[in-house]
């Protein structure tokens, strides 16, 4: 009997295992997003530090992260962290690598937002006796962040699509599961088709989420 080109019954058989992989992918995405959005903000604020050395150091770190491949950074963390006594799961290591990498990019987005706040706003804050910290919290960040949320959202979607790289450091995420299934049955079409469909579905949903956020911001 000829094998069908696309075997539906095999597809249904592997789908649950791929969904398990998808859960890992989503976990990595969420963790990395939290790291990227928070660390990115810290880096952006650090670049505005009045301590020249701090601002310079942050600029160098951001430039370094952005100029080296994510895969190299992931390998580096995966092999170097344990040797300095930091033992994390592959998923944690991967999420940190992904998060730090995207924090560098997001810090540039935040920076654009911060620079869009006019100098007069800082001066208004000085005239009212605000501390530097209070100026960031009350005046600058509430004006700097809303306009850049769409750009940040686009990086979240991009970050999500880079999670297959984590398979290189043994994270059993969606892509890794598909490879395992393929090598087991020598059928790759169904597994990778499912991977594509799942990524498409989640990307579409999160892109729609970003757009809704954008619209709500535009209205307020």
């Amino acid at each position: 009997m000829d094998e069908p080109v696309f075997d539906w019954s095999y597809t249904w058989e592997i789908a649950p295992r791929l969904l398990d992989g998808l859960v890992v992918t989503v976990q990595a995405t969420v963790l990395a997003t939290v790291i990227a959005t928070l660390l990115g903000l810290v880096l952006a604020i650090g670049r505005r530090s009045r301590q020249r050395i701090v601002a310079w150091f942050v600029a160098v770190v951001v430039e370094f992260i952005r100029s080296t491949p994510l895969l190299v950074q992931l390998y580096f963390l995966f092999f170097v962290l344990p040797s300095v006594g930091v033992v994390l799961s592959p998923l944690q290591t991967g999420a940190i690598g992904l998060g730090v990498h995207y924090a560098a990019y997001m810090s540039e987005v935040y920076r654009a937002g911060i620079e869009s706040v006019p100098r007069q706003q800082w001066e208004g804050a000085v005239a009212l006796g605000f501390s530097r910290r209070r100026t960031w919290l009350s005046i600058v960040l509430p004006q700097a962040i809303p306009p850049v949320i769409p750009a940040l959202g686009n990086y979240v979607v991009a970050l999500f699509k880079e999670t297959p790289l984590l398979s290189a450091i043994t994270v059993v995420e969606l892509m890794q599961v598909a490879q395992i299934e393929g090598s087991r049955s020598f059928r790759y079409l169904e597994a990778f088709t499912l991977v594509g469909v799942m990524f498409l579905a989640l990307s579409t949903i999160s892109a729609a989420g970003v757009r809704i956020l954008e619209l709500r911001l535009a209205r307020s």
Partner: protein, 243 residues
């Protein structure tokens, strides 16, 4: 001057922007409660004096003291400033613009700060716009909010930096009206950079004429505006009057 407390003391103050000397060995004393108008051509250093007092500019040489304190950051909360461009916080309501500093800097109780803010908004005639955003107000209204916001910090000194220059002519009066009331209440020291000579004459105890970063002459409004000693002052006053 009678022996009133000397609130502001500037000696030999120099401020340069690149090659340009904006304040050139400037001396200025301001006793408590004085209403001082600073006039002079653009670039003469009037606004820079206010910006130095507000710690928005660092000086290159000289001494500046407020209430005898040379570290101006320490006495910053005794000084309020109103800007040409209002500098209201656009993401906050009018009310929060006024309460934010008392709550976070003076650590006032929120309900108390709101009550006082409403009193101040009433004083500037805007209590019914408390929940509006700055962008929904006219320039004159925004500037009145900015005055209320500065007053909420209970400053002893108020600095007004060309506060009507960005306003449409028909909105100037409402802002000057608020300043007039403030001046009449007495226990406020006011430094006013202005091109409104009639207003300066009416409100100021003393007018300082600045030229190229120095005080060319100073004295009561009648003398500076009607019988200036220097030709430069005479020309400036005449030019503004003929405008």
């Amino acid at each position: 001057m009678p022996d009133r407390e000397l609130l502001i003391r500037m000696r030999g103050v120099v401020k340069r922007f690149g090659d340009h000397t904006v304040l050139d060995q400037l001396d200025l004393d301001v006793p408590a409660n004085e209403k001082l108008a600073l006039i002079g051509p653009s670039g003469s250093g009037k606004s820079t004096i206010l910006r130095v007092l507000m710690t928005l500019e660092a000086i290159d040489a000289g001494i500046v003291e407020i209430q005898g304190e040379r570290d101006l950051a320490k006495v910053r909360s005794h000084v309020g400033m109103v800007f040409q461009q209002f500098n209201l916080f656009p993401h906050m309501t009018v009310l929060r613009n006024v309460t934010e500093a008392p709550i976070h800097v003076l650590k006032e109780d929120a309900a108390q700060a709101r009550a006082r803010a409403m009193d101040l908004l009433r004083m500037v005639g805007l209590e019914d716009r408390a929940e509006a955003r700055p962008a929904q107000l006219s320039g004159g209204q925004q500037q009145r909010v900015a005055i209320a916001r500065a007053l909420a910090m209970r400053p002893r000194i108020m600095l007004f930096d060309e506060v009507t220059s960005a306003l449409d002519p028909e909105l100037v009066g409402e802002v000057l009206g608020v300043m007039r009331r403030l001046a009449s209440e007495g226990n406020m020291t006011m430094l006013i950079v202005t091109h409104q000579m009639d207003f300066a004459r009416e409100i100021a105890d003393r007018i300082v004429f600045l030229h190229e970063g120095r005080i060319l002459e100073h004295g009561p409004p009648s003398r500076i505006l009607d019988a200036p000693e220097h030709e430069r002052t005479r020309r400036f006053v005449k030019a503004l009057r003929d405008r």
